[in-house]
């Protein structure tokens, strides 16, 4: 009698998560690279930008793209490449902070609303419905017009609040839906039975289980926030001159010179498009990556 051959099962070779993500979500990986480049440009702007972004040079007014000025200059002779690079700072700071506060507060409210249910949920959802009935840009316009400007460290806090407020209810609604299913899980019942406090159950047991949709929305809403910041700056309600900001670069006298100097609107426009596209694409890829249904 011969012994049965020993069957060995080789465990599938685990790829490095970054490589796995790149293979599974190539577009997401490209988007991630764009985001990293953008963050790098923002962080290292003083070394990346060849000129001071706010320094005027009337001798170089409306100069077309050249080796000296890669993206040309604007009506004040300011180097557009340098302004686009520094503009990444504005976009990222306002985009990230607005999205972070909007998503975090929205998530906290959504989990709490799902956990408590009843009248608290009813009132919360009523309020969310009211806020959701306003289009994103209109709500941001109203908030920024009401609050005015409150600058700390060069960042307009009220602008961040104005952008975060319209994001909050959208995130709240999604997180609440995810939290409703988490609430029914046995471990939540067990936590209740063990006498844990509501805040402990919400933050220790429910919140981590809605982290995936939260992270996806945080990424996606950075794109929305960047777009909103650009729109508000374009309308004169966001960042003020001479701060380099992409939306602001599209407004003002850029519209006066779009024929003579199309580079004044081309490059900041492209920067906004790339940034929004990259964050949206990365957000979508993250969703596909995290969601097991997309892996079937």
């Amino acid at each position: 009698m011969t012994a049965a051959p020993l069957i060995t099962y080789a465990l599938p070779k685990r790829r490095h998560p970054v490589l796995a993500f790149t293979v599974a979500q190539p577009l997401g990986a490209i988007a991630f690279v764009v985001i990293v480049v953008m963050i790098g440009a923002g962080l290292f702007a003083p070394w990346v930008a060849p000129y001071d972004p706010v320094a005027l040079d009337f001798g170089a007014m409306l100069a077309p793209p050249s080796l000296e000025h890669w993206f040309g200059t604007d009506a004040f002779g300011r180097d557009i490449f340098s302004r686009v690079v520094y503009g990444a700072r504005t976009a990222l700071v306002i985009g990230f902070l607005s999205s972070f506060f909007g998503c975090t507060l929205g998530a906290a409210l959504g989990v709490a609303s799902a956990y408590f249910g009843g009248k608290i949920d009813l009132v919360t959802q009523g309020l969310v419905d009211v806020v959701l009935s306003f289009p994103l840009i209109v709500l941001a316009l109203v908030v920024v017009a009401m609050l005015g400007k409150f600058v700390i460290g060069g960042v307009d806090v009220n602008l961040i609040v104005a952008i975060a407020i319209p994001i909050l209810p959208k995130v709240e609604r999604v997180i609440r839906a995810a939290a409703l299913s988490v609430r029914e899980m046995p471990y939540v019942d067990a936590a209740r039975a063990a006498g844990y406090s509501n805040s402990r159950i919400i933050f220790r047991h429910m919140a981590p289980n809605v982290a995936a949709p939260y992270l996806i929305m945080l990424t996606a809403y950075i794109a929305q926030a960047i777009l909103l910041e650009a729109s508000l700056s374009f309308l004169g309600l966001g960042v003020t001159e001479p701060t380099p900001a992409w939306g602001l670069m599209l407004s003002g006298n850029a519209s006066d010179f779009y024929r003579e100097a199309p580079w004044m609107i081309l490059f900041p426009g492209l920067a906004i498009s790339f940034a929004v596209f990259a964050f949206n694409l990365f957000g979508d890829s993250l969703r596909d990556w995290f969601d097991p249904r997309f892996k079937v």
Binding site: V54, A55, L56, F58, M61, A75, F76, G77, G148, K149, V151, L235, G236, T240, E241, P242, T243, S251, G252, N253, S255, D256, F257, R259, E260
Partner: protein
């Protein structure tokens, strides 16, 4: 250069005259753009064009400027006038066919009530022209069509002051009931009756059938649409949604309109009795220190800015407190001796740094408030922020809508502001009134009290001859620019674009004149 400017202006002023040679057509509604919304209904309380482009069609004034022969003065509510040999008594004979829009008759009492309110505003009423009319001693109304102004001293500018477009005449009866009624209601004797003001949208008026000139106005009505974004205004003009904007467009906007509208657009240009000022709030530290103010003025390269900014904005000429090229303005040779007007900018900035160090603020930081109106406020703000950075000063540039901006200026809630000297003529008494002490002139944004300036203002006002007057004006200018309470940046250049169907409107060096729309008609 000066001669060329006058020839240019004369040629421009002749243009509408030629156009007006056609027989005017009646009817139609003029739709025009206004780049800012009025902060108040009260002409006496404001000095922004946004007020006049909204209010002027509804009101009359005692006199007005004859724009076909600018700066000649003509009657509006006054039919004729005489000035006594000692130049201290002005007697006006008023029209006897004038009625208020509510149907009540107009009389000399209305003129007296209006000017009493201007020179001596009751509590709660703002008159930014209190200093202008301080020389009026008494106002008598011997009969309903005669009003007599007696002055305490000779004032060479008084006739022009009576023609100021800001002196909207109000009903005495209404003022008696409520001295603040002009802030709440629009009711005048002008060519148009007020119909509506939709905030954020428009103001509209209809023809006043009982207007005192029997064949005017030609229009059935007008609508002033508030379009705050220049790009939107240009699109509206190109698309025919509006037929004009009577303040100014920038050189680039002019070129775009000409390119887009071809022979459908009329472009008229003129130098402008308007400048951008930098106002330092002397009630706030460290701007109570003359060294700080002077340093900030010294850092501004006005000559370089003039060359650069004139290509893309409505800012153009370097000048002192009077319009460059006007009869009593300081010539360039003298102007360059004032702090901040010298052409050696490196030396100016070195001195500026030294002054800031002496004042103990070598790394000065402050907030500059400005209007959101693109031309020329935004370029001016960008420019001065850049200039001050070059001496190590960090500035937070805060742009605000007209109403909150003016509210901040009026309340003194600012450190440094981009302000403007909005004149309607070159008369020095008018131009310099903004710089006398704050307790005499509320429009003095620096809020400074300087009795030396007040004395020089009085002296130039009472000078026996032009030569003597010019001497006092130079001393006033030297004192002002050395103390640097408010310093001019650049003077403006006016470019008005209208649809060629708009006829009868007259170009002038002031965007505050000619907005009563009495003679405007539509050739369509």
């Amino acid at each position: 250069m000066k001669a060329l400017a006058y020839i240019g202006l004369a040629a421009l002023l002749a243009l509408p005259a030629t156009a007006s040679a056609q027989a005017p057509k009646r009817g139609g509604t003029l739709v025009y753009a206004i780049g800012a919304e009025t902060p108040t209904y009260d002409c006496s309380a404001t000095d922004t064009y946004a007020g006049l482009h909204f209010l002027a069609p509804f009101y009359s004034t005692l006199l007005k400027f004859d724009l076909a022969a600018y700066p000649k003065v003509m009657g509006d509510l006054a039919e004729s006038w005489t000035i006594s040999p000692d130049k201290k008594t002005y007697t006006f004979k008023l029209r006897n066919n004038v009625t208020w829009h509510d149907g009540s008759p107009f009389s000399s009492a209305d003129i007296k009530a209006t000017y009493d309110r201007l020179r001596n505003p009751p509590t709660g009423v703002v008159s930014t022209r209190k200093a202008t009319f301080a020389d009026i001693e008494t106002i008598d109304t011997p009969d309903p069509t005669t009003v007599v102004f007696k002055l305490s001293a000779v004032n060479p500018a008084m006739l022009e002051h009576f023609a100021s477009p800001w002196n909207c005449v109000y009903s005495a009866a209404k003022l008696k009931d409520d001295p603040a009624f002009p802030t709440k209601q629009v009711m005048g004797t002008g060519a148009f009756k007020f119909t509506e003001h939709v905030k954020g949208s428009h103001v509209a008026g209809v023809k006043n059938d009982k207007y005192f000139l029997p064949d005017r106005p030609y229009l059935d009505g007008f609508k002033g649409v508030f379009i705050l974004q220049p790009a939107a205004m240009l699109n509206a003009l190109q698309g025919g949604q509006v037929m004009g904007e009577f303040r100014s467009v920038s050189p680039a906007e002019r070129d775009r309109l000409v390119q887009g509208m071809g022979d459908k657009v009329r472009i008229e240009e003129s130098s402008w009795v308007l400048n951008i000022l930098i106002a330092f709030n002397t009630e706030k530290k460290p701007f109570d220190d003359v060294r700080v103010r002077r340093a900030l003025s010294l850092a501004l390269d006005r000559w370089g800015g003039s060359q650069g900014l004139s290509r893309t904005s409505t800012l153009r000429a370097v000048g002192g407190l009077l319009r460059p090229g006007s009869p009593m303005a300081t010539p360039e040779a003298d102007l360059v001796k004032f702090p901040g007007f010298g052409k050696d900018i490196a030396a100016n900035r070195a001195e500026a740094r030294k002054l800031l160090a002496e004042a103990g603020v070598p790394n000065l930081k402050f907030e500059l408030i400005n209007r959101t109106i693109a031309q020329p406020y935004t370029p001016a703000g960008i420019y001065v922020v850049d200039q001050w950075r070059q001496i190590g000063v960090e500035v937070q540039h805060k742009q605000m809508e007209t109403s909150p901006y003016l509210a901040a200026l009026n309340a003194g809630n600012y450190e440094v502001a981009i302000d403007f000297s909005n004149l309607f003529m070159d008369e020095p008494s008018l131009a310099l009134a903004k710089y006398v002490s704050f307790d005499k002139a509320p429009e003095n944004r620096s809020r400074a009290i300087d009795r030396e300036l007040d004395g020089l203002y009085e002296k130039q006002n009472r000078a026996a001859s032009d030569a003597e007057r010019v001497g006092f004006i130079r001393q006033f200018e030297a004192r002002m620019l050395n103390q640097a309470y408010q310093v001019p940046l650049l003077w403006w250049h006016r470019i008005v674009a209208t649809n060629k169907a708009v006829m009868g409107w007259q170009m002038s060096p002031s965007h505050n004149l000619g907005q009563d729309l009495v003679n405007v008609w539509l050739n369509q």
